[in-house]
Symmetry: C2
């Protein structure tokens, strides 16, 4: 047997599965979806498949090639990590949106939940990780209370180098580092940005900062598998080759035109049909703390890609499903009352795990108390998995549509699959909705208003517009 | 001037304000609310006000008295904290839902963002705080990697003592502590539970655990201002008297029958009218990391209280607005594209801060680069506040309804106001919807299914029902 086949065997045992039984009318009842509705979409699905293939072939979806074209990038990252990890106790990402959500999600998924509180030895010799994804002054000032700048490496992540939040953080950090460390400051900054364009590239070149490239054709929310996500992951000892291998494995699964065998297409179709039926909310509810922040990453991907005013013909459509981040079993005590009894306005996506990284047994010490006795001798693993099944059942019975994605275990390979699955599904949903899933025109208005309020040259007209906005009515302020 | 008047003066400068201009048609356009619609609700509002007063008078809303009737409780808590804080390096809450969300939110709001990573001296001599609000085995096992049980105090919080998640954690911890510490183990456990009923009270009495009382008439999601929240807060050096004083101050503001002067009633009315217009999503978006977890606490309060199948007459209504937790400015790079261009299905609640706890100036080092130069010399404080205003403006222009709650600064007194405001608003919204905001019947099905799957005696019938559920169709699993 060839090496490749051996590898395939191992990978299949780590395949992520997608179960959508509870989306179908035959299971969930009238709020569900009929197979005939999917059949009726045949032409629309074919058109979407064609568009996806064309975009991929014509360089309109460069993120799809990331699992394949980064051998050199991975090598460069791993070499850099190995050359600096002993020097630095702390690695700080300066980034926001797509430059922060992926790094946080992957770190939380793979590493120890209290990673930053472990000794460097227990962290495998890798630095701590902090992600500064906001401009709340309290957060950054507080960081200085707990890190030693002499052993801290800052990773500035912005493709354009004009992201106000990230660049202002960089400007503050640069000044502080230079004051404190002089010439040595430049070794404490590493940039992840465009190869040629934008503000940060010339700054990095001039200052002599080490830098990594965000490929020109890859947008922020699809950039986790570029150095945006790969560098912070590798810096914390995460196997980035396996992340990419997982993505490649999922890519194979998503290539088929057999809709009922394609997890990404089917995820998109079911949510699309859900939206048509008024299900304007997409809940992602992992049953493990390790995947909690996948919900945040997904929230950007799904919201920013599909929340659009115009369709591809320029017609006003105002579409988009609002992502909601939940966590099982925790949110059974917070959100499930609403999911069970509230409106049928949701598609709920459970994300389960077959094997947790550890096991914990409940001692049999209260066998005489009925509401505690049944727990004795069971594991927390069994309890959380049973609660997941029970919640799935309760929501099914209540007529609330749900589906379940299951990871055999949470590791780099399964995580790579999950990320890539959601990305392809998002692209496909964009095609079904006939919108551009890869732009974000709606954030310009707020940016321009910020510039105008700051008196930035060139925004005088917007300033005039702002000055003309109606005065607030005191009657409407309590 | 009497002492009381002096106090009032100070408090008024710390008053939380509620601005709903951008909810009104005259500002946000056709997706907004007309004053005439509020006028048309006159009878409904009067009925709701009357019901609220009657419930309060008849002991149906005991949580409303918490700001006034806990002098002894506060004294007991503070004495206990002072007697144990030197012995313990770590304080761990075992709780879920209402027993976890409040403690997390208050800690994050008031204390240092990296509190657990500060030295004990920098923590003011108070222990670290961890909240174990899930049964993911990885989380609890990992906790043992970073805490020393000899200096760890566990706070078991459950009113009924039958919450499977919390009690199973307690059983595990109890056994481990007793194995390791023998007789001394009992000093490492403090219980917060009902005065008389449930499983935990007799256990606490038998074992000789220190315990605090959750008043019988206060439900989980309204319990933050009982020892559920007050003990963890005081244990981390938070001024719980000021929390309660803030709640009392807000109570005064919420007593008026003048709708346009009552922030809680108005918050409820505007969301109620929003729901009627298809706004089934309630986004809470604070512009400070310190209030991030207020969104999680609110999500339980609003979802579990208002997500109901039946109205008070037993009619099937399936009402409820789905809470979404966002964070400014971070989520401008994740969710705001959707908020600006997607469906008009949301009420967005900005939570702003006039004065942050610190200030951070951006150096003027790139005056030659237009997209960076305008930032030089400004503070991060100004940047985040400007971005909030700009986003408010952009969403207004896009026709997306929004309102703004502003805290003069984040401290115990303003936080107490905010918590109490949301609680009263939730109660009032329940009256307008004509549902019971204080029960959670929808979580029973999932609990019973869990018991049945575990083979708990008494759940044989449910087990039979589960065994009869349709087999999953392999065609619907990819």
């Amino acid at each position: 047997m060839s090496k490749q086949f051996e590898k395939k065997d191992w990978q299949d045992s780590m395949r992520v599965r997608f179960d959508f039984n509870n989306m179908m009318t035959s299971y969930v009842g009238e709020s569900g979806i009929n197979e005939s509705e999917i059949a009726d979409m045949e032409l629309q699905i074919e058109k979407a498949e064609k568009a996806m293939k064309e975009k991929r072939a014509n360089g309109g979806m460069d993120w799809r090639e990331l699992p394949y074209n980064q051998t050199e990038v991975v090598k460069d990252i791993n070499e850099y990590v190995n050359s600096v990890k002993d020097e630095f106790e702390t690695f700080v990402v300066l980034g926001i949106g797509g430059s922060a959500l992926g790094p946080i999600a992957v770190q939380q998924a793979i590493n120890h939940p209290y990673y930053n509180e472990l000794s460097k030895e227990k962290r495998g010799g890798y630095p701590k990780l902090y992600v500064m994804d906001n401009i709340d002054p309290e957060k950054l000032v507080s960081l200085f209370d707990i890190v030693d700048l002499e052993t801290t490496l800052f990773n500035v992540i912005t493709k354009s180098g004009s992201t106000s939040e990230t660049m202002s953080q960089f400007m503050i950090i640069k000044e502080i580092l230079e004051e404190k460390l002089g010439e040595k400051a430049k070794k404490h900054i590493v940039c992840t940005t465009d190869a040629k364009n934008g503000n940060l590239r010339p700054i990095a070149d001039k200052e002599g900062y080490k830098s990594f490239i965000i490929p020109a054709g890859v947008g922020g929310r699809f950039s986790e598998l570029t150095p945006v996500g790969l560098l912070p992951a590798a810096m914390c000892g995460i196997d980035i080759e396996q992340l990419l291998a997982g993505a490649a494995y999922m890519d194979e699964l998503c290539k088929t035109d057999n809709t009922f065998k394609n997890p990404a297409s089917m995820y998109a179709i079911l949510n699309y049909l859900g939206m048509k039926k008024g299900k304007n909310i997409s809940v992602v509810m992992p049953y493990t703390d390790s995947l909690k922040y996948i919900g945040d990453w997904y929230a950007q991907l799904w919201a920013e890609s599909l929340g659009k005013k115009y369709d591809n013909e320029g017609k006003v459509v105002n579409v988009g499903q609002t992502p909601v981040r939940a966590l099982g079993a925790t949110d059974q005590h917070s959100q499930v009352q609403l999911y069970a009894e509230g409106p049928k306005d949701k598609v709920i996506v459970f994300v389960g795990v077959n094997n947790y990284k550890t096991s914990l047994t409940i001692p049999n010490i209260y066998s005489d108390i009925p509401s505690l006795g049944f727990l004795g001798g069971a594991t927390h693993n069994k309890l959380i998995q049973t609660e997941q099944m029970a919640t799935e059942y309760a929501l099914l019975k209540a007529g609330q549509s749900n589906m379940t994605i299951t990871l055999p275990e949470v590791n780099e390979f399964t995580l790579g699959q999950l990320l890539y699955l959601f990305e392809v599904a998002t692209g496909f949903a964009g095609e079904l909705l006939n919108i551009n899933a890869f732009d974000q025109p709606g954030v310009e208005e707020g940016k321009n208003a910020t510039y105008a309020m700051f008196g930035r040259p060139g925004y005088e007209e917007k300033k005039e517009e702002l000055d003309k906005r109606p005065e607030k009515n005191d009657k409407y302020i309590i």
